[in-house]
Amino acid sequence: MAGMSPIVRTTARLLFPFTFLFGAYVVIHGHLTPGGGFPGGVIIAASFVMLVLAYGIERAQERVGFTRAEVLESIGGLTIAILGLFGLLAGVAFLQNVFPLGEFGRLFSGGNLPLLYLAVGVKVTAGILLIFYAMLFGFGGEE
């Protein structure tokens, strides 16, 4: 895929790590600020999309390829499921919090909520990227 003008490329290159970081921030602080797994995952995926728009699809696929995204998505889903199972293993109900709650208002608080959000973040990133890649290949036509 052809890229865009050098100005856009340079800016995309500059912005990519920071948007990635911002997405990670939104994911990790889901229990303290607005946002959470889904918006954060979308931001991370969007930063990859920005790379695709500016450079073409190869640059983004070097980082996260199709198969890797598929595996990541499954892993995210499995992580959520297993975190849910922790409740069962501890002898209480499904999805019940079995981690210590931590100090209110700090980063390590809320028990399993941040972990769940992390899993959702990974999953959403991979999922949105997969949809995007699949649609791009779809535009490319079948050989």
Binding site: M4, V8, T19, F22, V26, T33, L53, L136
Partner: protein, 86 residues
């Protein structure tokens, strides 16, 4: 008080932008108008954050700015006529 006056004026400005977005003879016209609208909305969000004294509104503004930027890039890419090809 000041803030409500400012918000009223900004509302008028965003109405003008929306008018251009509705009128705009070509697609880039609309995009430009909407870009201006987004910038105004970011300003409004930050003002509201200052009004409620809650910095959580700023995250929203940042996300909004980023996604608007991305949307503009995507539309620009589409308009360049090359489409999105692999």
């Amino acid at each position: 008080m000041m803030i409500s006056i400012i918000l009223t004026i900004l509302f008028g400005a965003s109405l003008l932008c929306a008018l251009r977005a509705a009128l705009g003879p070509t697609a880039p016209d609309r995009v430009v108008a909407i870009e201006a609208l987004v910038a105004l909305m970011i300003g409004v969000l930050v003002l509201l954050g200052a009004y409620y004294n809650a910095s959580i509104y700023l995250d929203v503004a940042l996300v909004y700015a980023f996604l608007a930027f991305l949307g503009t890039l995507a539309i620009a890419k589409y308009l360049e006529g090359q489409g999105v090809e692999t």
